[in-house]
Symmetry: C2
Subunit: 482 residues, 2 copies
């Protein structure tokens, strides 16, 4: 296999080193993943972005069903009185609620919130649906969009409206609720790492950072190329908090009335932002093959030469029949160079160049986007070879991202080190557990606690808090965050 | 194959003959397809109902993609000023819009409509995205919920919020737009008839009944068991109406600025109501196998007897592996009789009874829900036999529904006949085309024009209007409608 490095770059994307934030905006705009909507802070997800979201949805949905969950659809509006029942929850969400006050020409007697999240609706319906232990567990999920009136917004990362799934489950015992919370966290980790090629730190959030109304929140945290953290998914154990506020009781096997134990968990279109900022490079996107809408693009080279278009068409049919998501770019209005740049920009994992000289030798030239390398592959058995190559690319993207993340994660023994580390990555610290220390770190370095790994015992490295110096037994990651 | 008629009925559903509307409500409630939400006029789609919707979505979505459409996501809110740009459209929708007036604690400077439909957003974005003829056509669709502030609501048929898809496309020529409008109408007909087993009349709506802002609207119309019509899907050709209001122009091949030609089309969760009211009977639902969440339920009979549970489990694994959607009902808290009723109520197409005596003979007893008949089938090769049986059931449900519809469709030569016919079904009429006659028929019989078949020539049967007696050349169906 001949290999050669390719050195032409798309020059009109702002380099990451110059301005990472502008690079992100450039990439999103040029790849047409999404656009700004005519409503402040909202976005339109365009076909290429939505096709990625559809693949993420399919991968998650399959796993939700395999773990015994069913989908349902709740209304998008919530009466204000329902939202007010759980105190912490209200406090957390009320400031960012969009309110419906009029229906047609009539003013409503009670304001309706456009859902910022649906715990309150699930709780209301669960209290109606559950009677005895036989009805438990109920494990439901919905795919929808939610609205949070954000001041500062960025496409995919923080928009007033975003698309997500929210799972809501109720259980007979605390043990079952905790098991569910951790099972779904593991589903998120597995999808992040194996589907999106995002290495993540898995652990528990601090009390300060947990969900409004939760007893415990867990998260997966990914590192972007600017060293900042992106919370990529969360699961919450509510204990009986909401059950008490919404009166969700069931008759136990022993005939007693008991409160249910509840969980919720969600991931959103934010994951698309994570993919861009983890895998993208100076040429644009690099999409993991598992979720790439187009896995391989076929480019006829010198298409007017005899045999080239026929071979390209044959190859297209053959790869499609083999189950690859493949596109034939037969545009005659743009140059081959334009097409190269275009598909590299869009992050298509593999480009197959079908040219007259290669055809004579029974081969094609294949460009792999992850390494920006060209290799030569025989036409015979190409479908299988490409499948293997796509597997390789998926693994290579994860390997690169993990190497980057591991290189940018350091132990911080004290505040000085912590301040240095969070400039470019994650600081692993020992923390006393006091909110005052989290606040001080936020104040001084604009870094927040991310999560505490489950293997606390094995990860401990000193016994004093990185901030106050008092006794500390908690291992906690800190980072600047999206 | 031994056959025997089964005569036990679930007695707690109101008989259709007594009160069709109450029967509908009973069936929905007892099958847990949906529930009333805590917001007026809104519903919660429960797992069994949503699983049906997921199958409908998958069947439609596949066909949308095969016909060259891509999915996108538009915001749920629309600034009032955008909604006001197309006069007819505003007039049609403004009275039923829910308005957001506050974001967090601030009052908005401009009210935002919760989308009742998204033409105005698509138009706004299309005017931004399209430049030249090379960008055309754009053929997009979105799956979402929309909100229309309805006064009188009924689950699935008319609710303030409902779930649907809305396709919106723009084209360079009027011919292409018309072709698109009719292609999608045919997709709807094909899905209605082959997937949902709903026979439909296909044709064009009158000016009175067309979509607000459309130049022409087409529909598929199904007949429910009470003889009323249910509009099951519509496609619209807007011509350049919206393009002119929203300034969607493109540079043609000849270098001229021209308006695009636009279409939209949609079906909704209303289809679930159509399935219930077309196929349901005194025992509850009868679901077409293609969209049934559970196609076959396995019931162990005398489960304590040796071999029964083993055989049931084996059969479950075997049918699942063969790609059937199958459930094993191994509850030991309810009787076999209860289970029979329960699954018949839920409309599962096939019940497989696994009992000790049958097992000795190497057979199982199979109940088909469409005919309420029992047959005996050999265990060997059961998966294939069941697949064939499910195909049969799908066809039989369509056959029954079509026979019913055809029996209840009559030619009406005059108003007296029309009044009689629409008491129990559809009246096929000759109509002059005047709105005054539609209004008179509505006034006298509460019946509205449904659609005009495409083969006007072939269907004509007199040359005077059913209402005014003047010259008439339009064949039009009239019926009472949901």
């Amino acid at each position: 296999m001949a290999k050669e490095k390719k050195q032409e770059f798309v020059t009109h994307i702002t380099p990451r080193s110059e301005d990472f934030s502008q690079w992100y905006t450039d990439v999103i705009k040029m790849t047409e993943l999404c656009d700004y909507a005519p409503v402040r802070g909202c976005m339109v997800v365009r076909p290429y972005g939505y096709a990625i979201w559809e693949r993420i949805q399919a991968e998650l949905d399959r796993r939700f069903k395999e773990t015994g969950h069913e989908n349902i659809a709740m209304p998008m509006l919530i009466p204000e009185s329902l939202l007010l029942k759980e105190a912490e929850h209200v406090e957390g969400f009320a400031p960012e609620v969009a309110w419906v006050t009029h229906g047609g020409t009539e003013e409503l007697t009670e304001r309706l919130a456009v859902r910022p999240t649906s715990e309150t609706l699930f709780c209301t319906m669960y209290s109606k649906w559950v009677q005895t232990w036989r009805d438990l567990p109920m494990k439901y999920n919905q795919w929808c969009s939610v609205m949070r009136w954000e001041k500062a917004t960025r496409p995919f990362l923080r928009t007033s409206e975003f698309w997500w799934q929210e799972g809501h489950t109720i259980h007979a015992t605390p043990e079952e609720a905790q098991e569910e919370t951790l099972t779904m966290l593991e589903v998120y980790r597995e999808v992040a790492e194996n589907v999106l090629a995002l290495p993540v730190y898995v652990g528990q959030k601090s009390d300060k950072e947990k969900f409004a109304g939760a007893r415990a929140t867990y998260s997966i945290e990914a590192m972007m190329q600017d060293g900042k953290a992106l919370q990529a998914g969360t699961t919450h154990n509510f204990g009986t908090n909401f059950a008490e506020a919404y009166d969700i009781q069931f008759q136990s096997k022993e005939g007693k009335l008991e409160y249910v134990h509840e969980t919720s968990w969600g991931v959103s279109t934010r994951l698309i932002g994570a993919i861009i900022m983890t895998h993208g490079d100076e040429r644009g996107l690099r999409l993991p093959p598992v979720i790439a809408p187009i896995q391989a693009v076929i480019l006829p080279i010198a298409a007017h030469k005899p045999g080239v278009m026929e071979a390209s068409n044959d190859l297209f049919e053959q790869l499609k029949a083999a189950g690859l998501r493949v596109k034939l770019d037969d545009r005659d209005t743009v140059s081959a160079g334009f097409k190269f740049n275009d598909w590299e920009l869009k992050g298509v994992p593999v480009r197959v160049e079908v040219g007259p000289r290669d055809l004579e030798n029974g081969v094609v030239t294949v460009f792999r986007r992850d390494l920006c390398e060209k290799i030569t592959l025989p036409l015979e058995g190409l479908a299988d070879a490409l499948k293997n190559l796509l597997d390789d690319i998926q693994k290579e993207l994860f390997r690169q991202a993990k190497a980057f993340r591991d290189e940018k994660t350091f132990v911080a023994h004290n505040m000085e080190e912590l301040g240095e580390i969070v400039k470019t990555g994650f600081a692993k610290t020992m923390w006393c557990g006091d909110r005052a220390c989290e606040d001080a770190i936020k104040e001084q370095f604009n870094a927040s606690s991310r999560n505490m790994p489950f293997d606390q015992e094995g990860e401990r490295f000193q016994d004093t808090c990185v901030c106050c110096g008092k006794k500390a037994d908690k291992v906690m990651y800190f980072a600047k965050a999206y």
